[in-house]
Symmetry: C2
Subunit: 507 residues, 2 copies
């Protein structure tokens, strides 16, 4: 086949994939709607609509047409710059297609049905603290997860096959090594912290009205660089960010009082959203328009939520505005007291409420349990006990109910096994990226202190956002930071920041 | 082919069509979103997403699969009750398929592009009062409309082919006869009204806050029977109603002050929405799930907006609540003065602000001009002059600018030629239905006076809503009212109501 025909095939492939991207964007709109504005009656027909869109996207992607066009277009590969968008698109398309073709569509449908039912039962089980009613559904989910791993294939561990959905190219061996090192430092750090009084949290026990939280949170997100003309902020039961193109990336928050949870949720989701808003226009409506991995995506939310949003420098800038928004609540609270209150470390039962130090212990626990159940080393029936034991050894607390323990997350019911590590990878990478940005721009902290976030955002745009899925996450980290993924900068950050707050002498 | 196979084909056809209905519902969600919450940046990608969904729905509907299944399923027709849902589904599917297959997909795409560009230019032209810049686009639209009529075919008049999209089975000859009769009575009525002082409208010149208008309007819509747990009320530039299933039918309104426009827009849109909420569950996700015609749909909105919502009986019930919502604005205004103010007749330039009496004259003018341009009797360049002449002869007023004249509506730019008659058909049918409901239930007006709308809604459910597209609009009117479409009840209603308000002696 001549190069001209291969080029034509590539262009046709792009048109074909763009239409599939449109269907997926439409599904994302329907999903956003169902979490924000959809009336109760809409739930049942909406599930059917989403299933249809997902089936159409899957059918069109795994169709003979994709194969034919991709086969023909790949003849161009030798003549393309390896780092060009076209070469990356061909690589990613081949990878996605190979993977999608390994899963029989009946299996995909069965998993969808099982997860939908399991999610329903899980909601009840969590509300009633009734693990036994959920157990058979969870057993079924893990069976399907094992089958999924078998369909997809793996070298060492079935977990690798599952995790590949979230962290392409990463192995559970690498994750385990990383997590072991985190445990080694974090568990003693948590103990040291627990033996000290630490900052007062009274300021956060006060009642902050929804309206000013929303206005302040969004104003700060816009200061960070979230473009609200290409997005919007709504309310939902669980905060999320979702994009229908780089020019329409929406965030949500939830208002839980007392405290300023809605503000930090906005920072977090704005971090995700700025990533999607920063993806290069040239790769819109292609398979490259997305995050490099869930962990890289989480690195962006955590960077803005924690490395910026819980930093002393940021609050030197932002605290006066917060004080104007909440004059009554913050009377007698100075910036330093406030900074302490939002960084208090406290071993607790619920992952999503955990502080920066203890958060990863929740993740490591889940990772270990998922692996054990997947290999059969642990039975689903034994999960509640194993959960509680590990909580005690890592965090020194034990849930009184399964609702506060093994039933707390929606992930397993939804069939998302292998997903949790991405949260911690995000934490780890966020510090690597922040340090690299600071190395390129030593005035970074001073800029944050003045409320100037443009240099940081531009650095992230250039080194992370605009590339979308062009690079494997591991390669992206190397390109952006000059070295491979490593927990050391993150651990130094934790020891430095929380050692300071808690007055723990450097080891 | 044996009956069993035909039955299987019918069931497969339903599954196939249900998926297409899902895609169309998804498109409706995206459309709702773009008129309510979408940020400005989202416009361009949204247009692409909507084009893709519309292409997929069209491709799947006109696919060989639809044909094969329909051909096989039609063998059942002889054995089915003619009035059964299955028989109706087969008839409607065949009709839609035949029609859809007549339009080449390149033509459909060309019309879409032309209309999209024309709409863009029209917005500018209207803002700038610049008909000449819009003229070539409108010429192109009318050329495409003539081609569309040729593709679809017609017996007497190309207009019939276009109108069939909105009023299946109706001819422009029938419409013309109806409109001539309306003109005969309405023009003298408007003159008689103009010669009398009529009710004071001072009450409506006051400023009614958005919030209480919304609360009052929605409370009344719910009293009518609009189920807000299967819908919701939002704000948009132009009020509309849209459904994604019978269990998620949403309405919008707009707040324009002074006056109570938002309240009446809610009544109107709730009328549309109750129709869609009332379609039988058994025909959901089939081609039968929709209005019998645009005119029948409009009959429902006009019935609730005007025959209920601007009636003396309704305000005897509702006025105290309105007074509590707006105590300052309504001081010194009693129910009778208020009733007069919302029923004032005033020849005016803008269709969407027209009262019940003059409204149809705006429609008749458009119908006549559309017909004339379509046949070549009038050139597009001559439209502004012809518009102004007719305004003077029908309404006694002439626009000073094309913005207030020929440029006021979006329909032509959008390629919606043949649509306008449905508005007036809706007015005419609304009275026929209301009279038939009153005949079955003589206490109707007394119930409305007590705020009881259940009997009326049930009558409409049974005679109109639940059937969806099962019957041709003309047949539906006969079934529901016992006779064919006729303007006489509507004309009697106008003469009675406005003759009373204006003190015009019966002829």
């Amino acid at each position: 086949m001549c190069a001209a025909t291969a080029r034509e095939s590539l262009e046709e492939l792009k048109v074909h994939l763009a239409a599939i991207a449109d269907v997926e964007s439409a599904a994302a709109v329907l999903d956003w709607d169902q979490h924000t504005y959809m009336p109760p009656g809409g739930a049942e027909p909406r599930a059917l609509q989403l299933a249809t869109l997902s089936r159409i996207a899957h059918e069109q992607f795994t169709s003979a047409r994709t194969r034919t066009l991709l086969d023909a277009a790949e003849l161009l590969l030798d003549s393309l710059e390896p780092d060009s968008n076209d070469a990356a698109l061909l690589r990613v398309t081949r990878r996605d297609l190979t993977k999608a073709s390994k899963l029989p569509s009946e299996f995909v449908a069965e998993l969808q049905r099982t997860a939908s039912l399991a999610t329903h039962v899980w909601q009840e089980a969590r509300a009633q603290n009734d693990f036994p009613v959920f157990r058979p559904h969870l057993e079924r989910i893990f069976e399907l997860m094992r089958r999924r791993a078998d369909y997809l294939g793996y070298r060492e561990h079935p977990y690798d096959a599952l995790m590949d959905d979230y962290e392409p190219g990463m192995t559970s061996r690498e994750v385990k090594a990383l997590f072991d090192r985190l445990l080694e430092v974090t568990v003693p750090l948590v103990r040291a912290i627990a033996s000290r009084p630490g900052p007062a949290v009274g300021a956060l026990a006060r009642d902050y009205e929804d309206g000013p939280q929303r206005v302040f949170g969004l104003a700060m997100a816009e200061a960070f660089g979230y473009d609200a003309t290409r997005g919007r902020l709504d309310t939902s039961a669980h905060p999320f960010s979702t994009g229908f193109s780089r020019d329409d990336v929406r965030i949500t928050t939830r208002f839980q009082r007392p405290g300023l949870g809605a503000v930090f949720a906005i920072f977090h989701e704005a971090g995700h959203a700025m990533y999607d808003q920063g993806i290069a226009a040239a790769i819109q409506r292609t398979l490259l328009a997305g995050g490099a991995s869930y962990g890289i995506h989480e690195s962006q939310s955590r960077l803005w939520e924690n490395l910026v949003g819980r930093s002393r420098a940021f609050w030197e800038y932002a605290y006066p505005a917060l004080g104007r928004a909440f004059p009554a609540q913050l009377t007698g609270v100075d910036a330093e007291i406030f900074y302490g209150s939002i960084n208090r470390v406290e071993p607790s039962l619920i992952r999503i409420h955990a502080d920066e130090v203890t958060y990863n212990l929740h993740i490591i626990l889940r990772f270990e349990l998922e692996q054990a159940v997947l290999t059969g080393a642990l039975r689903v029936a034994e999960l509640p006990g194993a959960w509680n034991d590990r909580m005690m050894s890592y965090l020194g607390v034990t849930p009184k109910t399964d609702t506060d323990g093994v039933l707390q997350d929606t992930h397993w019911a939804a069939g998302l096994v292998g997903y949790f590590p991405s949260y911690t990878l995000g934490n780890v990478v966020s510090v690597q990226l922040f340090e690299a940005a600071r190395k390129d721009n030593p005035a970074l902290e001073e800029q944050i202190r003045r409320g100037q976030f443009g240099t940081l955002l531009r650095w992230l745009r250039e080194h992370v956002h605009e590339h979308g899925r062009k690079y494997f996450p591991g390669d992206l980290v190397v390109r952006a930071t000059g070295g491979p993924l490593t927990p050391e900068p993150y651990l130094s950050y934790l020891r430095g920041k929380f050692g300071g707050i808690y007055g723990i002498p450097a080891a």
